[in-house]
Subunit: 379 residues, 2 copies
Amino acid sequence: MFDWLVIGAGFAGSVLAERLARVRNERVLVVDRRNHVGGAAHDHYDEAGLLVHRYGPHVFHTDDRSIVDYLSQFTEWRPYEHRVLAQVDDRLVPFPINRTTINALYGLSLDDDEAVETFFRARAEPRAEIRTFEDLIVARVGRELYETFFRDQARKEWGLDPSALDPSVVARLPVRTNEDDRYFEDAFQCMPKHGYTRMFERMLDHPNIKIMLQTDYADVRRGISFKRMIFTGSIDEFFDRRFGRLPYRSLRFEHRTIDAPRFQPAAVIEHPQTEAHTRVIEYKHLTGQEHPKTTIAYEYPSAEGEPCRPIPTPENAALFKRYEQLARATPNVWFVGRLADYRSYEMDQVVARALAAFEKIDAALGTGPKRARAIMQAS
Amino acid sequence: MFDWLVIGAGFAGSVLAERLARVRNERVLVVDRRNHVGGAAHDHYDEAGLLVHRYGPHVFHTDDRSIVDYLSQFTEWRPYEHRVLAQVDDRLVPFPINRTTINALYGLSLDDDEAVETFFRARAEPRAEIRTFEDLIVARVGRELYETFFRDQARKEWGLDPSALDPSVVARLPVRTNEDDRYFEDAFQCMPKHGYTRMFERMLDHPNIKIMLQTDYADVRRGISFKRMIFTGSIDEFFDRRFGRLPYRSLRFEHRTIDAPRFQPAAVIEHPQTEAHTRVIEYKHLTGQEHPKTTIAYEYPSAEGEPCRPIPTPENAALFKRYEQLARATPNVWFVGRLADYRSYEMDQVVARALAAFEKIDAALGTGPKRARAIMQAS
């Protein structure tokens, strides 16, 4: 009945469904266990009418123009440069650490990159080998800044001390000597103008695409007929966890609507000194929405809940490899995305991953009769 | 695979899916050709972040407390009494016609019901038999008020002169001698506090219910296995229009967002004197949303488009009867709802219709093993 069964309506599944339906003219059934499309990037209007991200803030940024071009078929954009502050004692300072952060915390007035670099170097504790998250930070900025910004935050985030964590968990976090206070440095920093969900709806709006919600993979693996499958769920789930469960950290968000137009001066404020939550998010900064109220969220890391971040340990990598080998031996199923690849992709990375997967599939399957018809229709 | 295939995720389909899943503990697949649940009652946040009704204003009102009790499982309520004005020349007057309307239009100061009744009686043209919409109005309030408020509006609405229309098309419209300017007189007049779509999402949020969107009945009639069916689409479509198409009037809405917090003094203003649109709707009156902008809609009746209102002529009633006989002879399929019954139900009526259909089904099928389990779990 369907050419393709696509499990998961997040970025990986939706991009592949769109390409298969539009470019190859094939019939696609997209299935998601949630009651909406967009996966963890889904946004929605809450009970006060404020646009919020149910699964935590998603800030789009990329250096890859082709990803922007692809997504621009489905959305306009609203310029937004993400800025994050950290609360240290009673002070809000830029994060990642930059020149302003150092001057504010230490009552200094360092006025060029070199002075800040000298400041870091005087405190850095050189390590022969960077084996842990702790090594990485302490070797760069010293123990005091490590303890202020990273140690307790990481313990909350990962439930582990940074001395037991792979440095890759923070690899993307820069330390700056200038006054750049943007969280990301990418050339393109924008939000989908009318939200992520609207963008996904337009991506999936094609006569070849049917969408099935509130439906688990287990509900459709039998009973629905299809030729090939894209699986974007957790790879261990596909194989009934036969080697054990791939571990993820999860996040819990406590949303609160405040009866005031603004709550805090940035979209995200890190709270490295609190005991339970890691940060507070105020969505209006991201969305640009005008509204007499504002909705914020307290973010609590947790071991239980929806799978959010793969935990990068050598054991988990080895476990994933075993599943990956099974996947390679499974004909007519392609495994794509954050959960299937067990990797913490940024949004632009998962779009790139899905587009690359489509190119491979398209090359492997060649120009069937439907594909030929699609090419003729387009020309 | 499924106990029930439910075609249509509007009121009829969603209420039945909820009852079958929850009370009978049966597995239900709900299918809708749109990309959302809620049918024509669906509301959504538009690009400016304003909650609007995509398919025209839906104002909930009922005299049946049991319907309120049923729906209150899935929503809280916001009190809202619907009021409608009509623009006559450069004046806005209450509609339906009441004492204030008459005093304003005729520069009178009639101050009790009797005086207004006398006013109407002096103008009314008695008819031996009420056979048309025109008869109904002219016999009650006379030709001048008929022409001012009804004649041209009905021509736009139905594409027919009121002298060719069945009186049932306006049967619910009162003419009042007091100053009551509410559009409805029901004891319960409220809107779902967080919108219709949220109410439907909660109604359908059950592990026994799967939802398939962007999917036509024709896409699933073969290929999905199920035991029984609820069909809430157009009954002629189910039978491949073998006796011809059942005619509907349709509506087209032109939405506009205005850069001001308020556009007009009521949710709906009738425009009986304009050439194309019948009324202008401002949604914020219905939703109570606070927002610096406001979205309005111009309503244009049309012959083409989504089926909205059955056209009550004897020919159409006869055509429906032929389909209804086929339906009666179709085992394991129940036909329920506005389109399947070819009737202009109010929302509370279609909920009542669906709940009554469930009682019949439940009685007919009796206590199967799943139903027995559901009863045990509930006790």
